[in-house]
Amino acid sequence: MERFFQLPWQVPFGEFSLKIDSLSLMFLMAIFILVFCAGVYAVGYMREYQGRRPMGLHIFFYILFSLALVFVVLANNVILFLGAWEMMSISSYFLIVFHDEKPSVRRAGFLFLVASHCGTFLLFLMFFLMAHNGGSMNFDLISHTSFSSGLAGVVFLLAIIGFGVKAGFIPVHIWLPHAHPAAPSHISAVLSGVMIKMGIYGICRVLWILGVLPDWCGYVLLMIGVVSGVMGVLYALGQHELKKLLAYHSIENIGIIALGLGLGLLGESHHMPYLTVLGFGGALLHVLNHSIFKGLLFLGAGAVIQKTHTGEIDQMGGLAKRMPVVSILFLIGAVSICGLPLFNGFISEFIIYFGLFKGLASLPLLGAFGCGLGIIALGLMGSLALACFAKVYGTVFLGQPRSPSAVEPWGKTSSWMIVPMLVLGALCLWIGLFPRRMASLAFLGGGYLSHTDLSSLNMGIIFIPLSFIISALILFIALMVGLFGMRRIFLKGLIPSVRETWGCGFSQSSARIQYTSSSFARLIVELVKSVLLFKREGGEVRDLFPAKIKLTSSIQDASEKFFFRPLFDRLTSLSKKLDIHSIRYTQMYLMYIFLYLIFLLVWKMK
């Protein structure tokens, strides 16, 4: 389905033409849901800064940001798109640096701005290449022209890098884990829930314009998906900071989406419409799902941080008793993001799995191998994510408080903050139990994206399993209720006694003895420590009566540590050196002119 909207707009090459189609619809839903929820949440969340900071500016940029998002998705013209894109980056920058008195926040914001802007410059090139080939700046008109496979490849790569920066593909993700923790929580929710999806949207739009691509593109996306997904979740496991951890999980989920897209591309280039629709559809559905549950998680994290005034996971504990509602909502988010059944994460991952298995069976050797790799990677991501969120939930909400900041009495969380989270949680459950509507929308989007009409396909192959799953899940719920009843019956007349946790012989074990998140993740992290650059200082017990010992463990981001930082530093030092050398003497200046003159004379007058 397509709806157009035109207005006169007088800028060079620009035309104010908007368009809603099945592709943009998915993203539009995500935007509206999350921007609205985060906005309502902000009312409660920002109350403590009332008067102490320029609220007006913040609100202005929030509205600007939302508008920009909508226009990015609706724009049907290159200039309009790029304009909205720039607005999005800039306004989100000012949303991120809300706490600009902290140097870390400033650095994060600047890194974000630079990264997204550099990406945008690549997009300029890409769009102009396309527009030059298409002879127009209008997406529809461009999409009607055919691209030579070489040009298509170049455009594809430019799009992967340019949009990938925004989406947070590894290794160009470096801004992401810094920006998300720096921003206020409702902003991080929107950033991670919606803005990085704009990168995905851009890639989808480009794929839609380019039509059929050579199959190596599919493999590229597949590989990106595998790497980003697995690395993302591994990095997440090593984090001690709640929002940074969530940020890395966004990278993981982007990886899953990329897997779906890659599968779709493979299907397209091998003319297997089912793969295409399953891949693209799954990816699109996961876009929506991820924005919902990741939004929920960030909002929950915000609620926690607002009370405990720290993001350090190992400082928290036992919050389930203090903020029960938040803890349950966060649990819902956690279960969904692990892709566990009953919630929406499972549905989209199931669709992608399904497509990958289909590809495994039907694609030629290399493709099948790729799909197999994808399946394994997905499985690994799932189990690692499970471990990661078990760690988070267990350490933050369960057990006993690990630090005074987690004990001190607080007021209850404002209902301005609770209600949006409730909405998101409900959505998670709804899509998880009744996915049919959203799934069919996603498949429509996927079909539109790949220019295949679904009417020619028998979508039963996916919908029948889905309906089976639904019935199974309902049975599962029934089972749980039944077992609960049984338990009641067994316990009838008995009063369960409440004691201390059994300390295996130790009496009054203190809260400090609990397993920390780092120690929980340690086994996994150490298995891959060479990849994560895992560092561990101190901690070994020396003499018979050990004194107080300190243990710090940290992981580092390879692409940032070994590529981007050094590059920037080199450039800066080079420029400083040159500056000193060239600014010394006027003679230098004159000499440049002299040499230039000579050069031109020799070049042109021979």
Binding site: W9, F110, L574, L578, I593
Partner: protein, 470 residues
């Protein structure tokens, strides 16, 4: 009409030299620039007749420059009033030279004779020199010295170019533009080539194209905000007008390829050089100077690429001027508040001076061509032109340099506006008049970026046809 336009500022400049009160000078300057702008506005309806048997003619190219001049001087005049509310120093030389500058620049805009054009540009150099050394100190003296030396070299070379052109036009017996265009077939190509080379190097010095750019960082770094506006916004564009005039001839004599190849090379250089230097920069004005070099690169690149690029270049003339107003006036007001424009001395502007802080952000966005500002469109046009004419390498390098420039300028500006506020050295409160002057430019630039008024579009199109690029 044109004569009035040139004479009025000249006479008032002489008046400003007389021992009169500071306020009188300011008011005089304001009045002159208001009248000037009104007359220019009239010209938008219909162009005036030529004067002095074709030596002074205003065509659409000239009109573009003229409008830029009028707007910039107007905003500077307004800004000046606010500025001198906080200053005790005498403004005699300043206002006199600014008015002289106004009249000579007008001469540049309307002169149709290459000799006259050269004289006018020469004159602008002379009158702009004293402006740099408004703060009488060692560095500003150095800056002035260099500016004069390098620009005079440039001037000399362009004079050589003029002479060579005269020889090339031996059979035309005049340097009047229409005659040259009419008698294009008679021009002897080799001499023309030589003259073009000298012109490009000569006027390039004045325009600040790499590698002849080197006076810019110091001159801009030393001059006060308002002077910076004039030096960065109009002065180079005057020389660019000269280059445009030359390109008119080239397009007639089939030297387009020759000309554009040189322009593209120098444009490329003007992209790369500032990108190399910007990262190490620690002074706001100097950073802006580098960005202005880059913008000059945009202009010549657009001219060299032709077609869409030419349109973009002409459009960029206007946008660049407006952007420079925002950048340098804001830098000026900050420098006045903090007594320095080094990034180490300034922190958290947006917390102490919210309005100035926002203008600073606007300066960053305008200078680096971010969407709501019209510079975005013109830069895109020129990039697009490089793709269309299949200079992929050029496009790639340009993109990289733009990115680096953004990083550099962003680092400086954001480092200045954010952070724990640092108490300004000579704390002065926001000045409404100064801010108004900047705000007008901001609004104007944004509104052009959001909606390109059709008269402007027609003017630009007409100018493109005038240059007659193939």
């Amino acid at each position: 009409m044109l004569t009035i336009l040139i004479a009025t500022p000249f006479l008032s400049a002489l008046a400003a030299l007389l021992p009169v009160s500071r306020d009188f000078r300011l008011k005089l300057f304001l009045a002159v620039s208001v009248i000037y702008s009104l007359i220019t506005a009239l010209f938008w309806k219909d162009l005036p007749a030529s004067e002095y048997n074709g030596f002074l003619v205003l065509d659409s190219l000239g009109l573009i420059l003229l409008s830029i001049i009028s707007f910039l001087f107007l905003s500077v005049a307004i800004f000046m009033i606010g500025y001198f509310q906080h200053e005790q120093r005498s403004n005699r030389t300043l206002s006199a030279c600014v008015l002289f500058l106004l009249s000579t620049m007008t001469l540049v805009a309307v002169s149709y004779h290459f000799g006259l054009l050269w004289v006018a540009i020469e004159a602008t150099t002379l009158f702009s020199a004293p402006l740099i050394s408004f703060h009488r100190n060692q560095q500003s003296l150095q800056a002035t010295w260099r500016y004069l030396l390098i620009c005079s070299v440039g001037i000399a070379l362009s004079l050589m170019g003029t002479f060579l052109l005269a020889i090339a036009a031996h059979d035309v017996h005049t340097l009047l533009l229409p005659a040259l265009l009419k008698g294009a077939p008679l021009l002897s190509v080799n001499w023309l080539k030589l003259s073009i080379i000298f012109f490009i190097v000569g006027y390039g010095c004045k325009m600040g194209l790499a590698p002849t750019h080197s006076w810019k960082p110091e001159a801009y770094g030393q001059s006060t905000g308002m002077v910076g506006v004039l030096m960065a916004g109009v002065l180079p564009q005057c020389s660019f007008l000269a280059l445009l005039r030359i390109s008119q001839i080239c397009n007639k004599t089939g030297l387009t390829g020759f000309y554009s190849s040189i322009l593209i090379v120098s444009g490329l250089l003007s992209f790369v050089v500032p990108a190399i230097f910007i990262l190490g920069e620690k002074n706001i004005k100097r950073a802006f100077a580098y960005s202005s070099i880059e913008h000059m690169g945009f202009l010549v690149l657009g001219l060299g690429l032709g077609g869409v690029g030419l349109f973009g270049a002409l459009f960029h003339m206007i946008n660049n001027a407006l952007a420079k107003v925002i950048m340098f006036l804001t830098a000026g007001s900050i420098a006045q508040k903090y007594g320095s424009s080094r990034t180490d001395d300034i922190r958290g502007v947006i917390h102490i001076y919210p309005v100035t802080g926002i203008f600073m952000i606007a300066a960053l966005l305008a200078g680096t061509g971010v969407f709501p500002f019209a510079t975005f469109h013109s830069e895109l046009l020129i990039l697009n032109a490089s793709i269309i004419s299949q200079h992929y390498f050029l496009a790639a390098v340009g993109i990289i340099c733009l990115a680096v420039m953004f990083i550099g300028i962003g680092k400086i500006v954001l480092g200045v506006i954010h952070g724990q506020p640092k108490e300004p050295l000579l704390a002065k409160k926001e000045n409404v008049i100064m801010n108004a002057a900047i705000a007008v430019a901001v609004v104007l630039l944004i509104s052009i970026g959001l909606w390109m008024p059709s008269p402007l579009e027609h003017l630009l199109h007409h100018a493109v046809t005038l240059i007659g690029a193939v």
